[in-house]
Symmetry: D2
Subunit: 427 residues, 4 copies
């Protein structure tokens, strides 16, 4: 058939197959330190169990690639179409999100068998050659799986934190406290002007929500050279930051009152040892030199007001990244092998912690959601959430760009979410 | 004292006194059709009882004007400082918002006496002459009271709608159904370019959230010549608009499911008479020629998607208003004497119904909240709400501007909230 | 007609008419100290506004007496059948209980006019003579109204307590603190044996739930000579009674934790003046000599366990009342003119405070609910509630009997509910 | 030591050791058909995961027997004292009941190791000889574990029912529908008189809540010869039993409305195959010949009213069991090897389904809770629950008596709870 001829280059196929194998293998590799019992953990509706992540990413390839394009492919188990659909209404009804932890069946063994079956199917498709649409879907499927790999870490950290035994995802070797001095905060001045926002044509991959690239006019502003640290956060706390309503947005103060926030998520004060924080390495002392994380947008906003600054908009963040020629390669990502933000460096933009912006997550001017079920991927979430930029220590560098838009609700705290300050231009 | 000399012109004082008297009198005039029992009605936490509106607007003048500036003034009743503070944390704690309907005391008679006492105090201050800060606060107080006058109407409509007897605020005379043909929708084309957004220096008054005026770059777009009508909304409903998740934002679909929305707020289908709607005139037939109102932002967004269009941003709305030289005087406002939107006209921008925009309510670049308690007026609500533009049939023309920013949460429906379509430039 | 001949004696009719007039007039008399704004107050779903009590008791006579028996009677307003039906499913649907406070219409004036119309109708029926069924329903209607008169007091006390102004239903004259010494607790020993429980044939009136009279075997026990006092309750509090889970039933401890109970309802500790309690006379000091009231059954049970005793069963309470020949005339009831329990006397069984028993509210052996809508009066509530005995300072002596069974849910606290201790026979 | 001499008889020790081994082994045997992933399932707060049952029963022996009595015993893991305490406040705080499903650690392997350690400890204690208190605690521990074995079945059935895959605990062989004719209902007449209620001195074991044995006077009544069947329940449903408020208690009707009950728990109507029910054998057709089960007390009460009968009191049930000389050996219990009620027999009192009674769960006259933590075993639950009698198909015959009192909240439905009718004596 005509449309099967698009991708004929053997090198390209070999490279894509290698990338597919690598991404798929990493999901299982990330799960390796777990006990079987951990695979079903779901401590709140917003998180998903490890086994569900393994299954849902597989459902994605089966539903969007194998069923429509691989001749003769029959679903591994038709019931999985319902069980492991996350939110694609066009595909059909979904199993209740809050009850994913109740799916003891299929067992881990069965899910791994499904993964292998689907992997073989996709490899078969790759061997036959992909047309443009198939290629597009395969790439989306890989980036989709990378997103879930990141969620796997944030979700399992949250779930394990609910167990009083405090089990660690991995053991930490060497001292936790770095003893480093935090480099002084500097301000990058960005002049006013028209800037171009959004993914470029030359990007290897970008999500629909990063398009279309368009112009925006920005007044002059200044952006901090690095994220806010735990040490600075402790100063905010010591100064009564959590108890002064004048620092908080109205909805933020309501959330702080209802949730009783007195510190970032996972922080606990030990009578003797001071502030501790639950991490993927279990409970560890709060290191003043590392970036603060696991804070809500409300807390970030209150801190910024306390500091006489503000959160940047996502446009400011992206314009600054262009201005400073920020490189993904310079950031701390999952390949670094450390599952928690390292101490901040003098100048640091990408990686380590996601940075809350002041921007509501919405469509760019001229945005068109893709047709079909994949149109539900991003567009329908464009309300009530805020954009975060930069990626975190558990993101994949291969998955990030300076135009990348992450988004969460303002009260959410279980991501590696931190902040960076901005301010109007100083005369 | 030095700072009492700013406003010495007798004409200005007389004019300001007249305006003060007029605004204050209208609050009581608006309440005239009520029974005493109606003054305590509060049917949901977001609304306030009429008596509370009367009291809170008085609290504003007493707290921000008389107490600090009128020598020898002692509060009418010190407990009212707590009872009738809405959300000013700097002034102290507030009585629970959801329980305002439980304040049978002070009685209406007492509240009216308080109003009179405060009125006399302000008149006394006016007679002595106002300095700049006092003048600023008086103006804010008047606009604040005008806002509450509008809320009075939307709140009492909601409260009366909960009574199965369906009591009307006023009786309607003459036929409700206009029988008018709706003028065809036309598109105003606005070219791309830098525009100036926000209040101008020459505006007589503007809220802090309309400042500072600043530049923004807008791509070309088109804006509909009039709001969407009930007739068009009925077509959306008939086409299954409320039942197709593909039309809805994710949070919108959740709200629609949880609330069971099948039509705008107040609409009821009568087996014989068709769609009826509860209004300030009691239950009336849905008139296809009038603008749709009492819809949430989610419904507005779903309609726009169904119509192959989208909601405008607030920048687009304001730029179009400048481009079209829209005049407040052309709109249907409270002075019109009709407490429900009239049938749409061929070209209509301001008044009649508030129009949801796609813009999250946030600070303009360079925004500075005023110092002191009045800094809590607008800034702390800049999260999670959407901007509405244009004013409604129960707004005061004297209170509106094309730069005016109203804001509500996306699911809110009890305002006179409608929508106007926008779309990218057609080639 | 044959069945109109039952009640022909003129004296009986005159006496019954007088009683009807008296009961009906008292409802309005009790409301006299209120402001119009108070008539709509409903501070929680379990309570009803004064105006609703006035209307619902009128609905009862209209629905069960005038509509079926008064020729030519047409309902005052057909919508009231729905609005003022409390829980009689056989009569039709009911307006939402929690929203009774939203019924600003009908106004008080209209409700009073309805009362007068129904009063005249009933008087007309009385003049024509009542048959047995009509007589039965009239009596139930009067006792029903007396129940609501008591609820009027407990409900308005609760509603007024939610107003920070602390308005009093009536002003108190004279000192509140009695300075009396509490008479020492004595134990009445009741020997084991068969006793007869329930209303007797000679009772002028009894509710269905007090029938049939039947035998029960009771082991020997001892009953306290008087209720527990505030003074004794303060000792329980001082001894940590509210903080020791070992004293509490499991559900009671859960309620105490969730509600944060540290004292009876309405008690507040003043830094200078010590414990105060909101009463129908406004805020007053806690008088150690008066019976404790406004406690839940859980608190009563915990106190009894702390005191090395227990709550009596309702059978024990009734058997003791027979054994001691307790007289209604000896108790403090509403005719006393004091709207709060007076200091306890040496021996006191009926009146002053309702006394929680350990008995679940259930049907007596052989109980038959009456046929028709009046069968919904008592029987369908026979689950999950506990019986209280004895009547309170706001009950009508004319309405009480030693066989009278009141019932509330264990966590309820807004009645004048107290306790009396019991214990097994001491050797 | 003196108090170690109580149990010296070697045969008794050998028999007790055998019983201990047998009870402990059965917990693990019951779990054998599960996958590891199933051990953490907790689908509602009222249920517990299998692993938690295994751990908590072990905690009981460690806490109440090994720690106080076995010299040199140190807890397996001190954190387990907190994690696996159910509700014993005297022992300390407890891990949140609703979050037991989040305890992926300790793993199943660790819990089984703990069980073995504790088993060896108890066997060591048995070898040394038990005094009276130790013997009492061991017996309670065994009966406690038998209770949890029953809960294991009802809990896992509920958890598996939430999985759309409908996994079966065991496969069923042979036809499910018995095709049996239900024996006609007969009425056992029990004459009025004094009866003795509660455990006798000669009972091998009884819980504190069955004591003290005491006299009660019962009017004459009649008790049905067998439980109500699915066939009879289908007739109730067909007659609109779920839609007629006149049949329901007030709280029952509220529950039915809020939960949308239209059939017993686990029933689903299949378009083609008719009514099906989820069982421990997966989805099976509803067999008219089997007793109805998985109904709330509210449904049982409504059925009885519909049938012109009522629920028996627990005293009536126990008196009838004595009168009829009912034998545990005649009932269907777990030893039967069938994990669902079999078709009813002509005369059947014990086993198969628990039978709701009309009796509130309360203390018997003269009841004394044991001192210490074990005093929290039963007494503190004596409020708001109803008594069930007779035992079910997943109870252990060795654990049951005619004086045995089970108790659940009226809306609870996940037990094997059915009903038996009673009525007043027919003349």
């Amino acid at each position: 058939m005509q449309h099967r001829q698009a991708s004929t280059d053997e090198d390209a196929t070999r490279s894509l197959t290698a990338r597919f194998n690598s991404v798929r293998a990493r999901s299982e590799h990330d799960c390796a330190p777990l006990e079987i019992e951990d695979y079903s953990l779901q401590a709140m509706p917003e998180t998903s169990p490890p086994k569900w992540h393994l299954a849902h990413t597989t459902w994605f390839f089966e539903t969007f690639l194998l069923e429509p394009f691989l001749p003769g492919y029959t679903p591994f188990n038709p019931a999985f179409r319902y069980l492991f659909n996350s939110y694609y209404n066009s595909i059909g009804e979904q199993f209740s999100r809050a009850q994913r932890g109740l799916l003891s069946r299929p067992t881990l063994t069965e899910v791994l068998a499904w993964r292998e079956t689907v992997n073989q199917g996709v490899r078969g498709l790759l061997a036959r050659g992909l047309d443009e649409e198939m290629h597009r879907r395969l790439l989306i499927g890989l980036h989709h799986e990378q997103q879930h790999q990141e969620l796997f870490f944030t979700d399992i950290q949250y779930s394990l934190s609910c167990n009083p035994l405090g089990p660690a995802y991995r053991e930490h070797t060497g001292p936790w406290l770095s003893g480093q001095h935090t480099p002084p905060l500097q301000w990058h001045a960005i002049p006013e002007g028209l800037c171009a926002i959004g993914a470029t044509e030359t990007d290897a991959f970008a999500f629909d929500n990063e398009t279309p690239r368009h112009r925006a006019f920005l007044p002059a502003f200044e952006l901090a050279s690095r994220p806010v640290t735990n040490g600075e956060w402790l100063a905010f706390m010591a100064d009564g930051g959590y108890d002064d309503p004048a620092l908080w947005l109205s909805d933020g103060w309501t959330a702080r009152q209802q949730q009783g926030w007195q510190a970032p998520l996972y922080w606990q004060q030990d009578e003797h040892a001071g502030w501790q924080s639950f991490t993927l390495y279990g409970m560890q002392p709060v290191d003043p030199a590392r970036p603060v994380c696991h804070i809500s947008a409300y807390e970030a906003d209150a801190f910024a007001r306390w500091a006489g600054a503000r959160l940047p908009t996502e446009y400011e963040w992206e314009a600054a990244a262009q201005h400073l020629d920020a490189q993904v390669a310079d950031g701390q990502f999952i390949g670094d092998g450390h599952y928690h933000p390292r101490p901040v460096r003098a100048t640091q933009l990408l990686g380590s912690v996601w940075e809350w912006t002041a921007s509501s997550y919405g469509p760019y001017p001229g945005y068109q959601a893709p047709a079909g079920a994949l149109g539900e991927y991003n567009g329908k979430f464009m309300c009530n959430q805020l954009v975060l930029r930069g990626g975190s220590c558990v993101s994949d560098a291969d998955h990030l760009r300076t135009s990348y838009r992450n988004f969460f609700y303002p009260p959410d705290r279980w991501q590696f979410s931190g902040l960076r300050l901005a301010r109007g231009k100083q005369p």
